[in-house]
Each structure stands twice: as C-alpha cells, then as structure tokens.
Symmetry: C2
Subunit: 147 residues, 2 copies
C-alpha cells in the first residue's frame, strides 16, 4: 500500500478542523518534489512565479504547520538560516553541510543512534529529537585548485 502524502495531509487537516487550500497543496507538493533542502525564500520565489497570489507569510505558516504535524523537518544552515525537507517515507538521517556551496549530504549511523540513546539514558535526559550537522567542504569545493 503506497503512501499518498497529499491524502494523509488532507486527513490531518480535516481531523483538526483545518482547511485544505490551494496554497497548502502547492507548498506540500513543492516540498515533496524538492530533491534538496529548500529555504522558505526559495519556496516563495518558485511558487510565487506560478501563482503570484501566494504570499510569504503563508509559506512560513504552512511550513510551521507541516513541521508541527511531523510532515517536515527543518535544519539550520551554516549561516543560521533554516531549510526544510519533507519526511515522507524517509528514514532518519543527519547532514553534512558544505560551508562553501551549501550542498547537503545525508548520512546516518545506527551506531551513533545507539550511543546517543545510551548517553541520554545516563543523564536521565528524555530526548525528543536531535540535530547532528557536520560542516566542512564537499568533494567539489575541497578539490585542489580552489584554494
């Protein structure tokens, strides 16, 4: 049985008495199609091109809605700005972020997760989520001949 994000989203909306609007659909679709992490501004720029009526505020509001509902994740880029990715059928993973070109490479390690669990337990800390970001230079930006 294939998961259909749009359907799931609609269900969530109606279950909360919220409405399914064109803007919310556009934004979810954009996020689902995006191959990389997108910033609210990129999102606004791209969707607004096709639908000039869309406002910036709606992008932010919807992104929060998606994040709160567990449909999206946000990461912090090196400059502190946020970028989002959807969470449909994607296993948990963390990120390596290139400080030069902002490329994002995903990684995950069951061992790290296990150690984390152990560490939090030792400190009687109840983990909710975590952020493990490695900053550096990607293959391309670190290659010789580029300082």
């Amino acid at each position: 049985m294939k998961i259909e994000p749009q359907k799931v989203f609609q269900q969530l909306l109606s279950s909360k008495g919220l409405k399914c609007t064109k803007q919310r659909e556009e934004i979810l679709d954009y996020l689902l199609k995006a191959r990389k992490h997108v910033t609210p501004e990129e999102m606004y720029r791209d969707i607004n091109r096709k639908d000039p009526a869309l406002g910036r505020a709606t992008v932010f509001r919807t992104l929060h809605l998606l994040e709160d509902s567990g449909f999206a994740n946000s990461i912090h880029l090196a400059n502190g700005r946020q970028a989002y990715e959807h969470k449909f059928a994607r296993p948990h993973h963390d990120h390596m972020i290139c400080v030069e070109c902002s490329a994002v490479i995903e990684f995950s390690s069951a061992t790290i997760e296990r150690i984390q669990e152990q560490i939090t337990k030792e400190h009687t800390f109840s983990p909710l989520w975590h952020r493990h970001e490695i900053f550096g230079r990607c293959k391309k930006c670190a290659s010789p001949g580029r300082n």
Copy 2:
C-alpha cells in the same frame, strides 16, 4: 605551566595589531566565569549593569572576534538563537539542550567522533567542525507532576 586566557588573548590582540580594551577584557572575563552557555543579550545585560557604557554592538563584535580566534564556541538553542562558551582547556564536547528550561548538558563520545571521521571520509567530505545537539527534557523538566 598554567594557561592564562587573558594573557593569551592579549598576545593574540597585539599580534594582530588589535587593541586591548576594557570592554574586551570584561567580555572575556565574563565568558570565562560563566558556568553555562550565555547569550549575547544576557552578557550585555549583566556587564552593562556594572559598566553602563558598554554597548550591545561591542558584545557582538567581541564575541565574533573570540569565536574567530578560537577562544569561544557558539551553539544554537532550540529557538535558533545563539549562545556562547569559552574554549580554554576544554576538550571537545557536544550538547543536550532542554526544550523547557534551556539547560545545557555536555557530552562527548570518542566512538561517535570516530564514526563521524569514517563517514566523512567515505563521502570525500572535509569536515571543519560539527554540531551535535540533542533536544529533549532534562531530568528536572521531565519528572512526573509537571505537565
């Protein structure tokens, strides 16, 4: 031979042709004495109480100077804001951050570091630094009878 942060800082300053000012000393001292991670605003508030002449801009400027020189570290709190800690004679460590009271608990794991190295190597990624933050509730805030 004991390390004397203030001396080291003075050396760095003069080696760069920068000046050793009262404000810079106050800020470094504050950071050294702080037992927890401090935000620029806390810093400004506290130091400004004793020295009303100190301005907010100087706090930010000095914090950047300290970070760039490797004397301080910054972390992002759950709300995206920054907080700083000094780096004198402190081994590398990461953080668990309480989403309720913003308490910060430090942790470190040689195993995690090792795995990270291996992962970056696999992706031909040249790491510069990383941020590993676990968000959740500290012992106190997670205890029953609260929420």
